[in-house]
Symmetry: C2
Subunit: 275 residues, 2 copies
């Protein structure tokens, strides 16, 4: 585990670290905010998964989450969105390859060699955090934005018992029916694969989440047609899923939207983490 | 006035606008956050002046100020830090020329043609804001970071009655005695000019500020030798200046520091603006 930077932040430390990832076959960088309470022992951990084109850095500097995590004594981890570096496959388009890992394990060439973000987020990074930092893996929650909202919802539903609560900002909600999804699932998993295992709306219909779910979506989001929030809202309501789907009037897809509702998301998770 | 972007943010609007600046002889871009209350009439205005290398964007996306400004019903303006564009002089170093206007009116070649940031911030931009947006120029306050802290303090002290309160994050506090200052004042104003008029510590010693002053400085700031906070702290105490100089243990020069204390700065200004 290599320390790239550490900055005092809201009484805690905002660090950036890198480590050799077996899952991704390359070095992976992540941000980790540890609140002051981490000096006295393990603290609950809230995952923030980022969207297309993002690195570990975007949310770390723009989402304003540390203010609220510090208040609640919660750690925040900001993973990268894909493997990176020379020798890692890429695509000229912003929505495939580096910066667009989609939180799946690729099985298809040229992606299979490195693009194993599901295993990285679900298995390798939690173990690495547990070994190196005072985080309490018995108390985890997860959120994310756009592609990261898709990752948060699919991980939470497919790893029952792992996360006490899940939330999402403008998630890619129904990728099997969207150009933000069919393209990536086709490239990474192939045409015949189980795409439904990576579709939040289909997972919600099939299994739901054993805990509270909070989804915020801006009504003026420029990507509404690609996100398909209506599919998730329908599935949540049909399942009687505990939680809330909120349409926030006038907000778009930007971090100005994410930061606006971050306080409520962190409070939402804190309630579950300290229940 | 040209609208470059507008995003809903904390119930208000974070806009980015550009306009033709006479002072700078080029188009200038700025960010303006208007809280929801601006729909009902003019709101108080808090200026945020940025540091070396910054544009209008850095603080707008990283300082987390909108959360607190929205809570208090205060507008925020984020000016750029220099004239820019083709035909505008520049320097290969980060600390002179574009991105490093230092909030002075240059009199020396090649800078004099465009680098008139004092006039731009003190005269032209306030008038432009007043004409186009519901801001109440009777209720203004000012803050800034690093070079912008220098700008905030010098503008506040040299424009008595303009600002009800002034604060600064890690300001360049004593530029006439620092390589962050002598180089720029020499280049922009020339060797024989009145540098003292642009030195916050000397202005504090000579005139002070008729209102409260709040200065936050990180104890682990990597630029302490260039910032010279001790000169300002001494001058504030010697003058019996109303206000506080705070040394924040462990914090550095980054926006992780700025965002940590932003809530307190906005509250500090709100008290003066609503007094």
């Amino acid at each position: 585990m290599k320390t790239l930077s550490e900055n005092r932040c809201f009484g805690g430390v905002q660090g950036v670290y890198s480590h050799a990832s077996q899952a991704c076959g390359c070095d992976m960088t992540f941000g980790l905010f540890l609140p002051a309470e981490a000096q006295d022992g393990p603290v609950p951990l809230l995952w923030y998964l980022s969207g297309l084109t993002c690195t570990h850095e975007n949310a770390m500097v723009k989402a304003g989450a540390q203010a609220w995590a510090a208040e609640q004594g919660i750690a925040l981890v900001f993973p990268d969105t894909s493997p990176r570096g020379e020798g890692v496959a890429d695509d000229p388009e912003y929505d495939l390859g580096q910066g667009a890992g989609f939180y799946v394990n690729a099985t298809q060439a040229p992606w299979a060699a490195h693009f194993r973000m599901w295993d990285y987020i679900a298995e390798e990074l939690p173990a690495a955090l547990d070994a190196a930092f005072p985080v309490d893996l018995e108390r985890q929650a997860i959120t994310g934005h756009s592609m990261g909202g898709h990752g948060a919802l699919t991980l939470a539903m497919r790893l029952p018992g792992r996360f006490r609560s899940v939330s999402a900002f403008a998630p890619i909600a129904n990728p099997t029916e969207s150009d933000w999804g069919r393209k990536q699932l086709g490239a990474y998993l192939g045409e015949g694969a189980d795409w439904a295992a990576h579709d939040a709306s289909l997972l919600m219909a099939a299994k739901g989440f054993d805990g509270p779910v909070l989804v915020d979506q801006g009504s003026e989001d420029q990507f509404l047609d690609l996100l398909r929030p209506e599919a998730l809202a329908q599935a949540m309501a049909a399942r009687r899923q505990e939680g809330a789907f909120r349409m926030q009037k006038g907000y778009d897809h930007s971090y100005f939207f994410v930061s606006t509702f971050m306080e409520e998301h962190v409070h939402f998770h804190a309630e579950a983490l300290y229940a």
